[in-house]
């Protein structure tokens, strides 16, 4: 199991942590949906796993081995398919696979390249320069390169950006197939329906913190009890004190109600204290609605 425990990270000269006490785990064969608005800390988290940033505080381990030990023993056991087309445009598909495959190891290289070509269905363009491929084919090559080292875990950072529905369907099936072979996958995307369709468990992070985590049904059930409101007149601290008896305040605008309380009770408490409620929502959510409730509607950087 890949586990991250209490990860903190602050960029040089930054005023606040990019990651603050982040903990999560991914099992072999599991697809974990990692969600968060832009700037939430997803890329920083992935950079840690991909050996691109040093660990400042916390621990990352796989089956008891620390990430550093694992990197020394088997550096390519965690592979990454970045959001960018991370391959050499002037090289052919096969040459790219050969290049990245050989960096991992020359053992069974030809066989691994053939497997990656079959997996990504790129055999017919294997001699074609990567820069001449369509957007969908480029995404497939990006994914194929990540599978070359037979990794235990793959980090997929928005792997379907800019592709047509057919290519997207192919890529999603490919991700499911990978997971079925026992590969643990961390899947980040802004397309909520993709994450709903793929992920067994979901982690939502914002401002560097995990704000929700669990399997999809649990999270959506949470949504069933989530009271979302906008109020004028009370400070966040006062709101926190007033609503503490009614449930768990996730953000100053989101209250996860206890089962014995109703939304009207909580809202009445606020109004009696002088708040004017301008908007309130309570009820069943899909993932996108839940995400918007938890991370707020305000635009991000």
């Amino acid at each position: 199991m890949l586990s991250l425990n209490n990860i903190y990270y602050r960029y040089p000269k930054a005023a606040q942590d990019a990651l603050a006490d982040v903990s999560l785990a991914v099992n072999p064969g599991e697809i974990l949906g990692l969600l968060g608005p832009n700037g939430a800390g997803k890329t920083t988290l992935i950079a840690h796993l991909a050996n691109l940033l040093p660990l400042q505080k916390g621990q990352i381990s796989i089956n008891g081995l620390s990430l550093q030990q694992l990197r020394r023993k088997s550096p390519a056991s965690i592979a990454i398919a970045p959001q960018e087309y991370a391959f050499y445009p002037s090289l052919s598909v096969r040459e790219n696979l050969h290049c990245f495959g050989a960096i991992h190891s020359r053992r069974d290289l030809a066989a691994r390249i053939d497997r990656a070509l079959v997996f990504s269905q790129l055999q017919h363009v294997s001699q074609q320069q990567a820069q001449t491929l369509s957007g969908g084919l480029k995404r497939r090559l990006n994914l194929a390169i990540a599978t070359l080292s037979n990794p235990d875990y793959i980090l997929l950072d928005e792997p379907t950006v800019g592709v047509d529905p057919q290519s997207r369907a192919f890529l999603l099936d490919a991700v499911k197939d990978l997971a079925a072979t026992g590969v643990g996958i961390i899947y980040t995307s802004h397309y909520m329906e993709e994450v709903e369709a793929l992920a067994q468990r979901i982690v939502i992070i914002d401002h560097g913190k995990v704000i929700a985590q669990g399997n999809l049904q649990t999270l959506l059930a949470q949504g069933n009890a989530l009271l979302s409101f906008e109020q004028i007149g009370l400070s966040p601290e006062t709101v926190g004190q007033l609503l503490a008896p009614f449930g768990q305040l996730q953000t100053p605008q989101n209250l996860l109600l206890n089962s014995q309380n109703t939304p009207s009770q909580a809202l009445s408490a606020l109004e009696q204290a002088g708040a004017r409620i301008s908007h309130a929502e309570f009820g069943r959510f899909n993932l996108e609605q839940l995400f918007m409730k938890l991370t707020q509607r305000s635009l991000r950087d």
Binding site: P12, A47, A50, N51, L52, L53, P54, R71, P75, A76, I78, A79, I80, P82, Q83, E84, Y85, A86, F87, Y88, P89, F100, I103, H104, I145, S149
Partner: protein, 389 residues
């Protein structure tokens, strides 16, 4: 619409400070450097050359001749013990050898068997300067002979002919060289100079490649696969070393085979120490590639790579004696030229191609170039790691 687009361009320009710096500051530096370097190009510069005297005659006539020569050429320095080595290595520009009996020979009307005055010049001396010195030493010999005639003989007592004042019979200049090349031509100077310039142009290519690798995410992918920053940097050395070798072969071949077809003089490699040539070319290449890797880790965009790289090359070439020979520069600029890696590279190549240099005599240039390579690689590695974290 046009105004809006023009405004947009101005805004974009104003926010690209590095680009603006390249557009304004570097050309200003270039103008200053070139103006200083060429300050003395139209004035005689033989006076700046270091020279010495080997006076085997040690007569009043020879002392007079040295004093006369010094009026236009500055004071001579003491003759080094191994003066031939100093001249061959270019540390001493020339030595005037006054043969025993020169005073007596100059005082006679008969032509001597061989010129009593010999100006022995360094092998890589510019052909224009060499010709000027040759003419000057002959003129000095004629003046000396005329002076002696006036002192020694009563008017009409001496019979002179045209041959009496034939400067070529009295004095001559020759280059000291181990190279068997019959003549030193402009191509012997130009090929090494522009070969060095071309080899250093890998700076732009390597910087551009690394920026592209960074922007496409390839670099992150390589790092995530366990490739270390040092491995990634060193992986660029071998291919570009190969490219530089190809450049060298091509440019030397152009000098040897193509220039003569176009009516120019052929580059001669007769007597060249090929091991020394290969060694200095490898050192130049390593210095150029390492400098390129340092620039590549410093620049942030393709625009910066494609501007800073060429500008840096032009500046190094301008002060390094590639565009303007260092001997035409004022003394201060000549001192400055020793700071340019292109100058070390050029001097190394001239040592091999013109001065008969071997591995031993190339020591200082090779050490400087290799030291630059090591320093640049270390800095590039540290910067790479710093940026990664």
């Amino acid at each position: 619409m046009l105004l809006a687009l023009i405004r947009k361009e101005f805004l974009a320009l104003s926010r690209d400070l590095h680009g603006l710096a390249a557009l304004f500051i570097l050309p200003v530096i270039f103008i200053i450097l070139m103006s200083l370097a060429l300050k003395d190009v139209y004035s005689p510069h033989v006076a700046q050359l270091q020279w010495s005297v080997l006076d085997e005659d040690n007569s009043d006539a020879s002392q007079l001749l040295i004093a006369e020569w010094g009026k236009n050429s500055g004071s001579p320095i003491a003759l080094p013990d191994n003066w031939e080595k100093a001249v061959r290595e270019g540390k001493l520009s020339y030595v005037i050898r006054i043969s025993a009996g020169a005073g007596e020979a100059l005082g006679k009307t008969e032509s001597p068997d061989r010129p009593p005055l010999l100006l022995i010049a360094e092998p890589a001396m510019d052909i224009g300067v060499f010709s000027a010195l040759n003419a000057s030493i002959q003129a000095a010999a004629i003046r000396a002979r005329l002076g002696l005639f006036i002192q020694m003989a009563a008017p009409g007592a001496t019979t002179v002919t045209a041959a009496t004042f034939n400067g070529e019979l009295l004095a001559k200049a020759e280059r000291l060289s181990l190279i068997k090349a019959s003549t030193i031509t402009s191509v012997q100077h130009n090929v090494p100079a522009w070969l060095v310039f071309g080899m250093f142009f890998v700076v732009t290519t390597i910087a551009g490649l690394l920026v592209e690798e960074r922007s496409t995410g390839c670099l992150n992918r390589l790092l995530s696969l366990g490739a270390s920053p040092l491995t990634i940097l060193l992986a660029k050395v071998i291919p570009f070393l190969f490219i530089n070798c190809l450049q060298s072969v091509l440019m030397l071949a152009v000098g040897i085979y193509i220039i003569p077809l176009l009516g120019g003089d052929a580059l001669s490699l007769q007597g060249v120490d090929y091991l020394a040539l290969a060694a200095i070319l490898v050192c130049i290449s390593l210095a150029a590639i390492s400098l390129a890797l340092l620039v590549a880790t410093l620049v942030k965009s393709q625009a910066q790579a494609s501007t800073i790289g060429p500008m840096m090359n032009i500046l190094m070439a301008a002060i390094g004696g590639i565009m303007v020979p260092t001997f035409v520069m004022p003394a201060s600029m000549q001192q400055l030229s020793h700071l340019s890696p292109m100058n070390w590279a050029l001097e190394g190549l001239l040592d091999v191609l013109l001065r008969g240099g071997d591995l031993y005599s190339l020591g200082s240039e090779m050490i400087k170039l290799l030291a630059l390579a090591v320093i640049c690689i270390c800095l590039a590695y540290l910067l790479f790691r710093f940026k990664k974290s």
